[in-house]
């Protein structure tokens, strides 16, 4: 395992595209949360100051989202809107191998096909761990600046963010292994995640009840909701969290299985 990670490290260590996108993504986690913080928190503060005990506001927004313990959920949820980026990064890392034909050379030089896919999955794990670490750091910063006291309540949202990132990235691995070319892989990935996933969700929501919550990427998205507009969100009928979690994990296992199978059987 460590051996495979070391090989991946040699591949990305001097790969500027990877570092630029990854670091910008990590900064964006803080950036997008700052934007959300300014919008929601300030709005909330203003209204509370003007009309202490305003029931409408309480109903619409709930408790301040950037204070402990909601901050864990809020930061994770806002950061998750950016998870398409680590997914993209994963696709770049995988399709690069196909473009340079180094996927062949790696096998020729003595990796097994299984090891090759494993090395990509390990890379995804590392990306997701780092992402989760930056999310927790961001949550700590906003939590403490809100003046509330630290609590581990709701900290499980970090784990959910990790799973969601894994889902996005491993979906990317599968798409890359299936389509091989970078252009088509990125195109299919974006169209699915941005358009078709949502399109199918709403079609299913209209005609198929709640099955849309279990779609490949939507199941990850639906693990969390915004800790604001709590009352409004109650209007949408959701399946139990456990079921969505099971769907998300199942999809992750399916992506991994398909990637291994495809790479093991294909002509490289």
């Amino acid at each position: 395992m460590l051996h495979l990670l070391k090989i991946e490290w040699l591949k990305v260590k001097n790969y500027r595209t990877f570092w630029i996108i990854f670091i910008l993504f990590l900064i964006s986690i803080i950036g997008v949360n700052y934007v959300a913080h300014e919008m929601v928190q300030n709005f909330f503060d203003d209204r509370i100051k003007k009309k202490p005990g305003d029931l409408v506001i309480k109903m619409l927004i709930g408790t301040p989202p950037y204070s402990f313990p909601q901050v864990w959920q809020m930061v994770s949820q806002v950061a998750s809107y950016l998870f398409i980026i680590p997914g993209l990064l994963t696709i770049i890392l995988c399709t690069n191998e196909y473009s340079y034909k180094t996927h062949r050379q790696n096998i020729i030089d003595g990796l097994t096909r299984k090891q090759f896919v494993t090395s990509k999955i390990l890379m995804v794990l590392v990306i997701s761990v780092i992402t989760t670490l930056v999310i927790s750091l961001t949550a700590l910063i906003f939590g403490y600046t809100s003046g509330t006291t630290f609590t581990t309540d709701n900290i499980h949202y970090l784990g959910i963010a990790f799973l969601e990132s894994l889902n996005y990235c491993l979906f990317g691995v599968m798409i890359a292994v299936l389509f091989r070319r970078s252009g088509i892989s990125i195109g299919v990935y974006f169209l699915y995640v941005v358009v078709f996933d949502n399109f199918l969700f709403w079609v299913l929501y209209r005609y198929g009840g709640r099955s849309g919550f279990f779609l490949p990427v939507d199941s990850a998205d639906n693990l969390m909701v915004m800790p604001v507009f709590g009352e409004l969100q109650k209007q949408i009928e959701r399946p139990a969290f456990e079921y969505i979690l099971a769907a998300c994990i199942s999809w992750i296992l399916i992506y991994v299985f398909v990637s291994y199978q495809r790479f093991a059987k294909a002509d490289l």
Binding site: K6, N14, T17, Y100, K101, G110, T112
Partner: protein, 301 residues
């Protein structure tokens, strides 16, 4: 002699196109084994199957006594089809990745770069390399870890004449060190100059395999004819030295080992037996025409 590679009935098709048809042969240890064939004859497909980047539809093979094992590939240096490297990394960093995969240290990276004259450019990105340099880097990569078996697919592809000569010299040197080299080429000349053994492929079929001298045997052809052709045939039966005879265009073609045909002796022999020749011609058969004959391609020369 031990066998480095043994192929048994390998077949491969891409959709409806049959790339290899039931190919079997053995590569003995210490040989320089050329796989010769025109473009599209299945050479790269065959090497791809051996190196596990392609999967055969039928048949099996053993490399160093084992069927398709990654551990075996770690001890074989391979250049398949094109130089495959990370474009954004330098030569040195690319070789580090390969050394890591093979489980070696980085100790001999400079040595192999030196062997292909790339040491001065080791810090340059692969993307800045010329075609010839890329090819030489691929050969350097194959030499990493000093493997006993090398698989080289068109090793002189893209090289200038000096580069070609250098690589041939390198292959000869490696062969002298006792390494087994399996080499694919469409250049007969190249195979003739460096190989001890050869297998000839055409449209996925194995036409011949064995020692170079046996497969690509050089022959002299003597064409003779006389007014009384049946009489001539009888006369020829008592002549020594030729391997076989073929009738073509009212002529008889006598095949002799290279340099063994003596026109005077043939003429004398026929004359002694009361046959007067009206046609006597010595044709030197080149390796090239032999190759064309084997592969059934028509020379436009």
């Amino acid at each position: 002699m031990t066998t480095v590679l043994s192929l048994k009935g390998i077949s491969k098709h891409y959709g409806r196109i049959q790339a290899l048809k039931n190919v079997s042969f053995d590569v003995p240890e210490g040989s320089v084994f050329g796989i010769l064939g025109p473009n599209g004859s299945g050479k790269t497909t065959l090497l791809g199957i051996i190196t596990n980047v392609l999967q055969q539809n039928a048949g099996s093979f053993e490399l160093l006594g084992q069927p398709t094992a990654a551990a075996v590939r770690k001890n074989i240096g391979t250049l398949l089809e094109t130089p495959n490297f990370y474009h954004y990394l330098s030569a040195e960093r690319n070789l580090r990745i390969i050394a890591s995969i093979k489980g070696h240290g980085f100790g001999d990276i400079d040595t192999v770069l030196e062997r292909v004259n790339l040491l001065q450019r080791k810090k340059s990105k692969f993307s800045t390399y010329s075609l010839g340099m890329k090819q030489r880097l691929a050969i350097a990569a194959a030499l990493l870890g000093n493997p006993d078996v090398l698989i080289l697919d068109e090793p002189t592809n893209g090289l200038d004449p000096v580069g070609i000569a250098e690589i041939r010299e390198l292959i000869r040197k490696l062969a002298k060190e006792g390494k087994t080299i399996i080499m694919a080429s469409h250049l007969l000349d190249e195979v003739e100059k460096v190989c001890t053994h050869v297998a000839i492929l055409k449209k996925g079929e194995l036409l011949a395999a064995g020692h170079v001298d046996e497969v690509l045997v050089n022959e002299d052809i003597v064409e003779i004819s006389a007014a009384d052709q049946p009489r001539l045939q009888q006369t020829i039966a008592s002549l020594n030295g030729y391997t076989h005879v073929k009738e073509q265009d009212n002529c008889l073609q006598l095949f002799f080992p290279a340099g063994a045909a003596k026109l005077e002796a043939i003429n004398q022999h026929c004359f002694n037996h009361g046959v007067v020749l009206n046609h006597l011609l010595l044709k030197k058969k080149s390796l090239e025409s032999k190759f064309f004959e084997l592969t059934g391609t028509v020379s436009d020369r």
